[in-house]
């Protein structure tokens, strides 16, 4: 039910799901089958005893599509709860990235300075490379990566967004 005029929004959805085989395939299949976007996806067990996993999806779409996505997810049998963290209030969103840069001489100095100003840690060093570890909001990481780009960026590995609502309440 989207009309081209409607603005595209970016939402972070968090859900609690049964930690059972196939649950991730069910969610990913729903997105691909119905033509929704996945910008980022993270999955991890919440606790071993509860047999629950938490899945965080960052998606984009017009508001009615976002509503559809939520109710489509919600009706999957192993999905317990879907929370739209973007609607609930400004959630804490963090992503971790490992970034490899290759270079010699001055370029190394430059890379270290940038890393320092982003509070990235150096987790591997050789005579001609660094691996930086950075945590932050996705756009901070985007920015960091783009600054390193001309300095010999080799590769990036990002975890995807983990998110949690602010305040004392759980989801």
């Amino acid at each position: 039910m989207s009309s081209p005029a409607e603005p595209i929004e970016r939402h972070t959805l968090s859900m609690l799901v049964d930690n059972e085989p196939g649950v991730l395939a069910r969610i990913v299949g729903l997105f691909s089958g119905r033509g929704y976007n996945i910008d980022s996806l993270t999955v991890s067990e919440v606790s071993h005893d509860s047999k629950l996993s938490r899945i965080t999806v960052v998606t984009t779409g017009a508001p009615p599509i976002i509503e559809q996505i939520k109710s489509q997810l919600d009706r999957l049998v192993p999905v317990h709860r879907v929370v739209d963290l973007t609607v609930v209030g400004k959630a804490v969103e963090r992503e971790l990235a490992l970034i490899k840069v290759r270079g010699k001489g001055e370029i190394r100095q430059e890379a270290l300075l940038i890393a320092d100003s982003f509070r990235a840690r150096t987790v591997d060093t050789t005579l001609e490379s660094f691996v930086f570890e950075i945590t932050g909001k996705p756009d901070k990481i985007d920015q960091f990566v783009s600054l390193l780009e001309p300095l010999g960026l080799v590769e990036v590995s990002r975890t995807g967004v983990a998110a949690i609502g602010r305040g004392p309440e759980g989801m």
Binding site: M1, S3, D18, P21, G22, A25, R26, G29, G33, P64, E67, Q68, S71, Q72, D74, R75, L76, V77, P78, H80
Partner: protein, 586 residues
């Protein structure tokens, strides 16, 4: 009840404990232990099909005509893949089916073993839910849970895939007592605030319409009763989708006929011009809405649905009520009475005046012929011959399906079974067999086309084997008529591969199976031939040769709004009815 037994025995025990009386299946290596366990009991009767697609459609026909869950048993690999069409059909039409599939033993899973396929992977998008049971200790619970999930909330098909070693393994069986899904607990009662707002809006309406669908049928006979009561109390007009036919009696004055692409003029005009629309268990599907941005432009819309994802999916809703139709209608009626709601009699009378003028257009009329059987005429005569009987109707897919929906009239729910969402040719015969299994003494007729019937015709053999005297009434126009109609509409009448070439002699074919074949091609002989069919207590294939070139009218061409219908008095409008944009649609 807790008892040690094998996985295969658990399957049978779980079926018995779930009250299953009939199942539809086909054996193979990966389900032999279950067939062996079946051999040792006589509570559940197994109907041996001829193709697994037929098994699922039979289960659907059984479920839709009886309100029970349809049960299917098939083997791994090709057994499971053959069932996929039926499962998808059941998903789109929200029919409760539990389908048990055999799987290769757990240690062979992933090795491309003989007759291995990734059944849960393949069926994930075409089931409401599915399970692969790797541990015998989960089996009984999963089976009971499957029945719970299939029936509760918006019904649908559930697959339980059981590896062969799990069928042999021994474990403790637990009964169905208290088994429901941990968290899957759909909401039945509507939000009282929304119910109140809806009733207030409805009571003030000047041009209201009830737009009802398959959800009324799925909610059970009580929902149909409440709908009738609400209609009587309010005096408002009622229309329905293809899926909802029978929930409201077609003989009633407030009945507008079916709506949508081939619905009546009065139903579609009422939808277009109404000021308050109450959608009861329907989903604003594209066959109903036509062009969405021109759909019922001036109405406030109330939508009752058990599935929140149906709300606002295609059409923006003003008052959504999430809940089971029966519960919500009950609460609405209570509220209506408590409020002493008084409809605006004058406005409603003038609304009916307008509707009656639309009715007077007689949008279902057609030109009779003295020497050709018009397909509409054939349905009319069939209806006249059986309307006093205890009759269940199924259909295949095509023009005949639409003519059946238009010209056969239903007074009660659960009497009409057609593949609405998926539009599966081949549905009707197995669905009729399933309905006949559920109602052995009733008359069950599959209204078919000569092309569709050939898709699952082998099930005639099943009907013979189990003494199920289904009647197949073929409107034989020697064309995939619906395809030909669209080729008229979109492709300049170039009938590319829509002629039913090399048709079998249906009479001889019926006889070859051991059934009865009847052929009729003259209007004057039709009543007698139908009577002959009804007098036979065995399966009959009735080859009714009809006008080859008739088209289904009225019609809302795709991409057009409701008030731009092509009417039978101007059929030539079909030729260039669809815009370039509309051609992209189906």
């Amino acid at each position: 009840m807790m008892r040690e037994m094998t996985g295969a025995e658990m399957v049978m025990q779980a079926l018995i404990d779930q009250g299953v009386e009939h199942m539809f299946g086909y054996p193979g290596g990966a389900v032999l232990p279950i067939y062996d366990a079946m051999f040792h009991q006589n509570q559940v009767r197994h109907v041996l099909v001829r193709h697994e697609q037929g098994a699922v459609h039979m289960a659907e026909g059984y479920a839709r005509s009886s309100g029970k869950v349809g049960v299917v048993l098939v083997t791994s690999g090709p057994g499971a893949t053959n069932a996929v069409t039926g499962l998808t059909d059941a998903l789109l039409d929200s029919i409760p089916v539990v389908c048990i599939t055999g799987q290769v033993p757990t240690h062979l899973i992933g090795s491309d073993a003989f007759q291995e396929c990734d059944t849960v992977g393949i069926t994930r998008p075409c089931t409401k839910h599915n399970y692969l049971v790797r541990d015998i200790n989960d089996l009984a619970r999963v089976l009971h849970e499957a029945f719970y999930v299939a029936q509760n909330g918006r019904p649908g098909p559930v697959v339980v895939d059981i590896p062969k070693d799990v069928q042999f393994a021994r474990g403790i069986y637990v009964g169905p007592e208290n088994i429901q899904h941990k968290t899957y607990q759909p909401r039945l009662k509507g939000d009282p605030e929304k119910v109140k707002a809806a009733v207030e809006l409805l009571a003030k309406a000047k041009r209201p319409v009830f737009y009802t669908g398959g959800g009324v049928i799925n909610s059970g006979p009580e929902a149909s009763r409440l709908l009738r009561e609400f209609a009587r109390l309010s005096g408002y007009p009622v229309t329905s989708t293809l899926m909802g036919l029978g929930a409201y009696p077609a003989s009633d004055r407030q009945w507008l006929g079916m709506l949508g692409m081939h619905g009546t003029y009065e139903a579609n005009m009422a939808m277009h011009d109404c000021d308050v629309m109450v959608c009861v268990g329907a989903r604003f599907d594209d066959r109903i809405t036509g062009r969405v941005d021109a759909f019922s432009p001036n109405s406030k819309k109330i939508h009752i649905d058990i599935d929140p994802s149906s709300i606002n999916k295609n059409i923006k809703i003003d008052i959504p009520i999430i809940g089971d139709v029966k519960h919500v209608l009950e609460d609405m009626l209570t509220m209506w009475r408590a409020m002493k709601a008084e409809p605006d009699r004058r406005a409603i009378a003038s609304w009916w005046g307008e509707i009656d003028r639309w009715r007077a257009r007689k949008s279902l009329s057609y030109v009779k012929s003295p020497d050709l059987i018009k397909p509409q005429y054939a349905i009319e005569r069939l209806y006249e011959a059986v309307k006093e009987k205890d009759v269940y109707i199924t259909t295949e897919v095509g023009q005949h399906q639409m003519w059946a929906a238009q010209h056969f009239h239903f007074e009660e729910p659960n009497r009409w079974m057609t593949s609405g969402g998926l539009g599966t040719m081949g549905y009707g015969l197995p669905a009729a067999i399933g309905a006949q299994v559920a109602h052995p003494d009733s008359l069950v007729i599959d209204i078919a086309g000569e092309a569709s019937i050939q898709m699952c015709l082998q099930e005639l053999s099943t009907a013979l084997q189990f003494n199920l005297p289904v009647k197949i009434f073929v409107l034989n126009n020697e064309y995939m008529g619906m395809v030909r109609q669209w080729q008229d509409l979109l492709h300049g009448g170039r009938y590319s591969h829509s002629y039913s070439e090399s048709l079998p002699d249906f009479v001889k074919l019926a006889e070859a199976y051991g059934g009865v074949g009847i052929r009729c091609h003259r209007p004057g002989d039709l009543d007698g031939a139908i009577q002959e069919m009804l007098n036979v207590d065995r399966p009959v294939l009735f080859d009714c040769l009809v006008d080859k070139m008739e088209n289904v009218l009225p019609m809302i061409p795709s991409g057009k709004p409701h008030n731009e219908m092509i009417m039978p008095d101007h059929p030539e409008a079909l030729d260039d009815a669809i815009s370039e944009e509309g051609k992209m649609l189906v």
